[in-house]
Structures are given as structure tokens and as C-alpha cells.
Symmetry: C2
Subunit: 105 residues, 2 copies
Amino acid sequence: MTTKNSDKNTETCKAQALLKLLSGKFRPEVFRLSLNGPLRFSSLLRDIPGANKQSLSAALRELEEAGLLERKIISIKPLHVEYYLSVKGKSLVPFFHQLESFGEI
Amino acid sequence: MTTKNSDKNTETCKAQALLKLLSGKFRPEVFRLSLNGPLRFSSLLRDIPGANKQSLSAALRELEEAGLLERKIISIKPLHVEYYLSVKGKSLVPFFHQLESFGEI
DNA sequence: TTTGGTGGTCATGTTTTTTTGACTTATTGA
DNA sequence: TCAATAAGTCAAAAAAACATGACCACCAAA
């Protein structure tokens, strides 16, 4: 088939895009922290060592754009925003567990 | 437990290190191409679109240092080198397949 | 109408990664 | 001895990622 090679390339590109998305700064931390429930921007900033607003913001935005996280304004009083794993995001959980176990090989 | 958090951090760090190793330029391609059997430097250079010697060399060296690839000189005629997946490398195969399927979500 | 809290953005530097092009080593065959 | 081929290395430039500090938007209460 002539499509075989191009299909494979597409797969590789997607795998690479996903890998890149997940491996950027603070992304694994955001991911793992969000396993325990919804997260607020300020708490992430506090809880992730060395995190800064700009990178964290970029991480959250990109993960949201990829459909892995969802963003929800929960209060307008002093303005609260929550980030939580989408269904798609939750489907990556076993992947992360696998990754952590591989890390120990 | 006080160890719980540090354990998780260790896991994250290891996962992150592995993510970095696997997500670098051309690494997923090298990985997937090597599923079909041993690879030569020049064929990788040909088959991976946009690949350049330096980055490819770095990818191969790092994957070898991590124990995922093995390097073998197979001929001394015009000097041939083969790269192939180690046992450890092969153990990552399902992980990559999972990644590729996620890429399509 | 000024202050305070939360959740950001923007412009600018700095650091890390990747690319590029010239050079190297080893071996064979002419 | 000289060219050719495979598999690289090295230094420098270019590009991408990341960090920093200043600033903005929104709303409420004082």
C-alpha cells in the first residue's frame, strides 16, 4: 500500500506531538497533581517547585487546547478558576503510571 | 508518611527524565523504525524526514546510553553499524503503541 | 475611588535545543 | 598512494523553550 508509510508517519507525528505536549515544563506535575481533584492556578503555583506564572499558564492553556484539561470559573467574587482532567485527560492516567514504572527500570 | 511525597517526586523526576529522553527530536521515529529490525545510521538519515547527522547521532547515543538501543559494528568493509532495540527497549513497545493510539483521540 | 485578591498577559532577556557546514577516522579498491 | 564510502565529531549560528518583572482585568468592600 502506498498509504502505509504516510499512515505511519502520521502516527509518529501524533505520538511526537503528544510526547512534546506532555513533556514540557511542569506538565507532568500538573497532570499528576490534577489526579487528586480540581486545581487552582495559585495552588499549582504554590505546589509546583520552581513554577512561574508564564510557564504554568502556557502549560495549562496547551493542555486545555489539547482537550486534556478543562477550565472552569467557579467564582467571580475574588475570581476563582479550576482546572480539572477531562475524560480524554483521564484516559492518559494509565499511560502516566506506566511511564513512572518504566522510570525505575 | 513523609516518604510518600518524596517518593512521588522521585517518580515524577524519573518519569520526566524518561519523557525527555523519548520526546527529543527524532527519537520516536528512531524507535518506531527500529521495530522493523536493525537500522543503519545512513538509512535512518534517509528515512527520517528532516533528520540531520548531529541530532540523529545524539538521539542514538542517548538512547544507547539509556540502554534502550544497542549498537553493533557488523562489517568492516565500508564500515557498517547497526542499531537495534535491546530487551529494555522492546519493553517500551506497548508504551509507544499506546501513545500512538492516544495521538488519534 | 482606592485597595486587595485572583488570574492572568506582555515584552524582554537568558538558557537550552537544534541545525549547519566543515572536518575526522577507518577501511577497501584502483 | 589516492579516492571513495560509512559513520560519525566539532564549533558556531539559529531557533525554540523558559524565566523575570512589569503590567492589566475583574470584582468587592472600605
